[in-house]
């Protein structure tokens, strides 16, 4: 019987710790466990045999620390490890080999330096060897980051047909080191269709008891529990663990009774621990898992359930009808896009829609960038929104969590393209009730399409819970029964237990004062059972409907949310606020008062020419604080607050600049060099330059020299600023300068960063050294004079 069949019938057991037991067998400090696969394989076989004799069913290959980055001979180490495991299980019944994959030891971008695809390939190389040798399953274990876990699962699935089990290491707070809680991991991993999941290592079985209920309430697949033997400590020069084999087994009985299915051990658990566990838990009831029936989407730390309380999907990151966003997308102005995300999060959105489709940009690349960047600044789940399946696939792949996807239709082609993606990467998907025949007129026909979509999805193993039906909202300005039809469809779907979503503001397209219509329609839709609304969370009136509805429906205990909302928005829609004590724009900037600067700028643009405001007010004010900084009368925090205020004012003024004046802006390419991930200095320079009206092409951090050359070409910009914080990355700065010199005669390079000095800058061939951000601005001014 295969492992997949057997776990559907009865409890099976993993073995225990490897490293700690090998140490007791003579492994020296500084020696790695995997080195014994080659130097003394008989001891590895002995270890496996001891666990099998103790009653375990699944042994882990001794490959936890092996990968191609660490070992040139990783293939040999894996082949030998699997050999040892095969020798041990030979002639035994119902014994299985798990190919063991541990963490890479590196952090993925954007917080670390490893590309997602690099991580996938690192794990894939191991999986290919294991697949060739033949094992029974793949165990991805001790992962303490959700993104790396996803990379490993994708590698396993793409390079083998083996069952995939995953266990994560939760810390004392019940979360992974990078913040994911058990529910987020369950949501993502079940989306990726792993065969069993759970926890290992951590701080012992007592800590796991604190979170086992979350697994028991939510996991649809068997739950694995492989704890440490408590906490390690050093006693007479030896590592010992604080939980005895007997006590360990008692904990395991409790865990089993609470729903743990597959049991075993991790650090410090010798065969004796496993033997005790098997004996004590063998007669406990084995509960089979079943689907949790919940519609869940997640980010890397955070899960949102659709179907309980109404869910708001922020619609602002979608260029349709939004001039500023279109411009930001064309100019790759990530800060504007992130700002839109942060505002919606602050206003109360639960999920953010992300659509970056514009004919003149590479949508797939932009989508990947926006998704990764947004996930670095917000923990809200995202709705990946595109009409192009290729864009969806690329963004689903690099998304950290289980996304919401927008959208599939009842057209055969749409379903055939999208359902395999949902099956592979996980996700809940919005299904539009239209097909080859268009959008049906009646609610009943729309429901019929929804049911056909759900049926088709089930053929791909996608459950109804992951299909959220959008019965489509057409404007009442062209069909006065449109709202009635849509509301009826929502009601019918709701009665059938099907989740629903609507782009509510479509209802008023073409009409004046659309919020009047939208709010009433939104309230009606909620009353008919709408689960998600794609809307603008910055609309106070729409949010008013949402909070009122929740309060009226008993979904807001003590009306707390409503009261908070109401107090924050008290009278804000009355007449515009008088400006703060007649402060001038210059003064607001010099004193770093961002809110004041923005409101004064808003008044000024009504009466003054935009370019004049910049040249006669913003720049002189910045110069004043900049001079104070250079003369050490002001310090960096003040300068930065002024820059924040100036940027705020600049944003306001920019909207009024004629397009013919815009072309004159002078460019500046900015990057933190390859290998360095510090960007605070670079960002300071960027904002100051922008405040002074330069057009900054910010390439980010850890930027390859070739990418910088490409930017010189692409933007036809001959001024490049490079930043580095560490001595170790200055050589990479030098390499970048060499490459730029080799390709262009007329490019000027200015360098800065903590470790740089004038001497250093001369040595690596830079044209100039900036001791601080103002130096960079002054240099740019001279360059363009």
């Amino acid at each position: 019987m295969g492992i997949i069949e057997i776990i559907k019938q009865k409890r099976v057991y993993f073995d225990g710790g490897t490293g700690t037991v090998l140490q007791s067998m003579g492994l020296k400090a500084g020696q790695t466990p995997e080195s014994w696969n080659i130097s003394c394989p008989e001891k590895i076989v002995q270890l496996h045999n001891a666990y099998l004799d103790a009653g375990c069913n699944i042994i882990k290959t001794n490959t936890f620390g092996v990968n191609k980055d660490k070992y040139d001979n990783y293939e040999e180490l894996i082949v030998k490890a699997i050999d040892c495991a095969k020798k041990a299980v030979e002639g035994r019944n119902e014994k299985y080999i798990a190919f063991d994959i541990g963490p890479s030891g590196r952090m993925l971008k954007p917080f670390g330096d490893m590309e997602f695809e690099e991580a996938v390939e690192l794990f894939a190389a191991n999986v290919r060897v294991a697949e060739k040798c033949g094992v029974d399953l793949i165990l991805i274990e001790t992962m303490n980051d959700s993104y790396e876990t996803k990379a490993a699962v994708i590698a396993a699935k793409e390079n083998s047909k083996l069952p995939v089990f995953v266990t994560n290491a939760y810390d004392e707070s019940g979360k992974l080191m990078t913040g994911a809680d058990p529910l987020s991991m369950i949501t993502m991993l079940e989306g990726l269709r792993v065969d069993a999941l759970g926890m290992n290592c951590s701080f012992g079985p007592d800590k796991m008891l604190e979170i086992i209920d979350i697994f028991a309430e939510n996991a649809s697949v068997p739950i694995i529990v492989n704890p440490n033997a408590g906490l390690p400590r050093v006693e007479n020069g030896k590592t010992v663990f604080d939980i005895s084999p007997e006590r360990f087994a008692e904990y395991m009985v409790e865990l089993a009774n609470k729903g743990a299915c597959i049991l075993g051990g991790c650090c410090g658990t010798t065969p004796e621990y496993i033997k005790n566990t098997v004996e004590k838990t063998n007669n406990t009831e084995y509960k089979l898992r079943k689907s949790n029936g919940k519609t869940l989407v997640s980010s890397y730390t955070h899960t949102v359930e659709i179907g309980k309380s109404p869910v708001l999907i922020g619609e602002r990151i979608n260029p349709t009808g939004k001039k500023k966003l279109k411009e930001a997308l064309r100019e790759n102005d990530m800060n504007y896009i992130l700002g839109e995300g942060l505002i919606q999060a602050e206003k109360g959105a639960h999920i953010l829609d992300v659509n970056v489709g514009l004919p003149e940009i590479n949508e797939a690349e932009m989508m990947k960038n926006v998704v990764v960047s947004l996930q670095a600044v917000t923990d809200l789940p995202l709705q990946l929104d595109s009409s192009d399946p290729d864009v969806l696939e690329k963004s689903m792949r690099i998304y950290n969590g289980k996304p919401l996807i927008n959208s599939v239709t009842g057209k055969a082609e749409s379903m055939e393209k999208l359902f395999p993606l949902v099956r592979k990467y996980g996700g809940s998907i919005i299904a539009l009730t239209m097909d080859e025949g268009g959008i049906p007129e009646s609610a009943e026909e729309r429901v019929a399409i929804a049911e056909r979509i759900i049926k088709k999805a089930s053929e791909y193993g996608i459950e109804q819970k992951d299909i959220i039906v959008d019965p489509l909202c057409l404007t009442i300005s062209s069909d006065n029964s449109a709202a009635k039809t849509t509301l009826k469809a929502v009601k019918l779907l709701n009665e059938k237990g099907i989740r629903t979503s609507l782009g509510v503001s479509n209802i008023s397209f073409g009409l004046p004062n659309r919020e009047n219509i939208n709010t009433v329609f939104f309230a009606n839709a909620l009353e008919n059972g709408l689960d998600c609304a794609i809307m603008n969370p910055s609309s106070e009136r729409m949010m008013g409907v949402y909070y009122s509805y929740k309060a009226l429906k008993g979904l807001d205990e003590g009306c707390f949310e409503y009261i908070k909302f109401a107090s924050e928005n008290d009278g804000a829609q009355s007449v515009s606020k008088p400006s703060e004590s007649n402060i001038t724009l210059e003064k607001a900037i010099i004193n770093g008062l961002k809110d004041a600067a923005v409101s004064v700028a808003k008044e000024l643009v009504e009466s003054e020419n935009a370019l004049d405001i910049i040249n006669n007010r913003i720049v002189p004010a910045l110069n004043e604080i900049g001079n104070a900084f250079e003369e050490k009368r002001a310090y960096l925090p003040q300068l930065l607050m002024s820059a924040d205020a100036a940027s705020g004012a600049f944003e306001v003024v920019k909207t009024k600049i004629d397009t013919k004046d815009k072309g004159t802006s002078n460019g500046f390419i900015l990057a933190t060099v390859k290998g360095d991930i510090h960007d605070i200095g670079k960002n300071i320079v960027k904002v100051l330059l922008e405040s002074y009206g330069f057009k900054v092409y910010d390439l980010g951090r850890d930027v390859d020299p070739y990418e910088i050359c490409e930017a010189v070409e692409k933007y036809n910009c001959k001024l490049v600023g490079l930043s580095a914080l560490m001595t170790t990355t200055v050589p990479s700065m030098e390499e970048t300068i060499k490459l730029l010199r080799a390709k262009y005669d007329d490019v000027k390079v200015i360098v800065g960063g903590a470790v740089l000095t004038q001497e250093y800058a001369d040595m690596i061939g830079a044209d100039a050294y900036a001791k601080d951000a103002m130096d960079g601005v002054r240099y740019a001014e001279r360059f363009y004079k």
């Binding site: 917080f111 330096d113 303490n144 290592c201």
Partner: protein, 197 residues
Amino acid sequence: MNILESFYGRIESEELEYAENEVALRLKTDRGYTNDLIEKCKAILLENVDCRYSAKRITLNISGNTVDFGGFTVESKELARLLSGCSECYMFGVTLGNRVDFLLKRLSASSLAEHYITDALASALAESAADKAEDIIKENRISTNRFSAGYGDFPLEKQADILALLDAQKLLGITLSKTYLMTPQKSITAVFGVKNN
């Protein structure tokens, strides 16, 4: 390697204090109007700190400029000088946790001033966390100053060995980039010797 003692623990945010001189060194400010902002940043930072430390007390041998820690050796004149006369030392790591990285990332998209100030505050806080951790682990032993890989002639590459000894990935969530940068950013590792009495 001869490990004599092993430590792991958390330091509650309330127990961490900003050394005012560290803050002043980084922010150099006393002009009224930024103080509000600094206080605001301090409060948000503390909400996001998850401070942990891991440490080992181990024996060591020095010959010439080579310091032998058992599992690995370090060639460094300055380290050998610092630890001369010590037969034991502590190695430790302390981190403010990943959420501080996330916070800084978020601020970098919203406010330059808050990003810069919070980053500086976090650096100051990491130093004071290192002081605190040092006090906890060494109890009343007389010790040398602490020294970290990457300073002077103590090769930065040794960071990998130090983190492995401390089981830092598992206990502290610290990983190392190819250029030997630690994530979470606000992490410190160091070694200090115990004076033989």
